[in-house]
Symmetry: C2
Subunit: 146 residues, 2 copies
């Protein structure tokens, strides 16, 4: 059975791709309910800070510390240094990751700070990223600071 | 002599305070010129991701990797996990910090990743934060995920 939350993150990623953007999506789940969703906004908003996870958290709005501390963040791709740092800032205890083959963030460090990472090896997430990277390598490199 | 870039970051912090926001400011300097400036937008934009450093980078726009790699980021306060992670993502080699008494980010980790941190013990930066924290402790705690 497919994970409905990862499917929602994938929907966000596909929406971003249809907009001409980078196909990474994210949802924030608290008490079994999606409270925020988003996708990478580099192309759409000319943003260098709104990676999918950041857009998702921004769309969730100003939450209480006690909300973040029982939340799970879903992302179609392994969170980069920025997004991982945001997880640490807000004390989000768990991150579910679609795949970490196309890109791998600082997973060992994040785990060392007490965050649970659940890395899936999701075929749809991988395909979406691999197609995108092959098509627009310069845009992808810009997004990861390379 | 006062550092004009730290003074510019302080101006941003004071502007934020006059707007009713959290008084932290930041500027990004490349080749001796300010290319972006910003201040914390939690109150003003209801944002949980636009810390001063993030707002500054967002206002600087989409830069090339080669631009970030010769940039210096100024902040009136020690960058948190999120903002430190963003420095790492983009490979910004140097961060000048107004003070780290009111709050201290993951400085040892950031240094271990090769970033130079120049921590000033700036009296104006400290006063601004100490006054704010005394006046609005709940807002401050929200901003640092506590």
């Amino acid at each position: 059975m497919k994970d409905p939350f990862m499917q929602a993150a994938l929907e966000e990623a596909r929406k971003g791709r249809r907009e001409g953007g980078i196909p990474i999506g994210s949802v924030l789940v608290i008490d079994g309910r999606i409270v925020g969703r988003g996708h990478n906004q580099r192309v759409q908003k000319g943003s260098c800070v709104l990676h999918a996870e950041m857009d998702c958290l921004e769309n969730a709005g100003r939450l209480k510390a006690s909300d973040y501390r029982r939340a799970t963040l879903y992302s179609t791709l392994s969170p980069c240094d920025m997004c991982s740092g945001t997880v640490l800032l807000y004390g989000i205890p768990k991150v579910v990751v679609g795949e970490n083959l196309s890109f791998q963030g600082p997973e060992a460090y994040v785990r060392s700070r007490g965050v649970e990472l659940d890395i899936r090896d999701d075929a749809e997430c991988k395909q979406l990223m691999q197609d995108f990277i092959a098509q627009q390598p310069a845009l992808w490199n810009e997004d990861i600071g390379e």
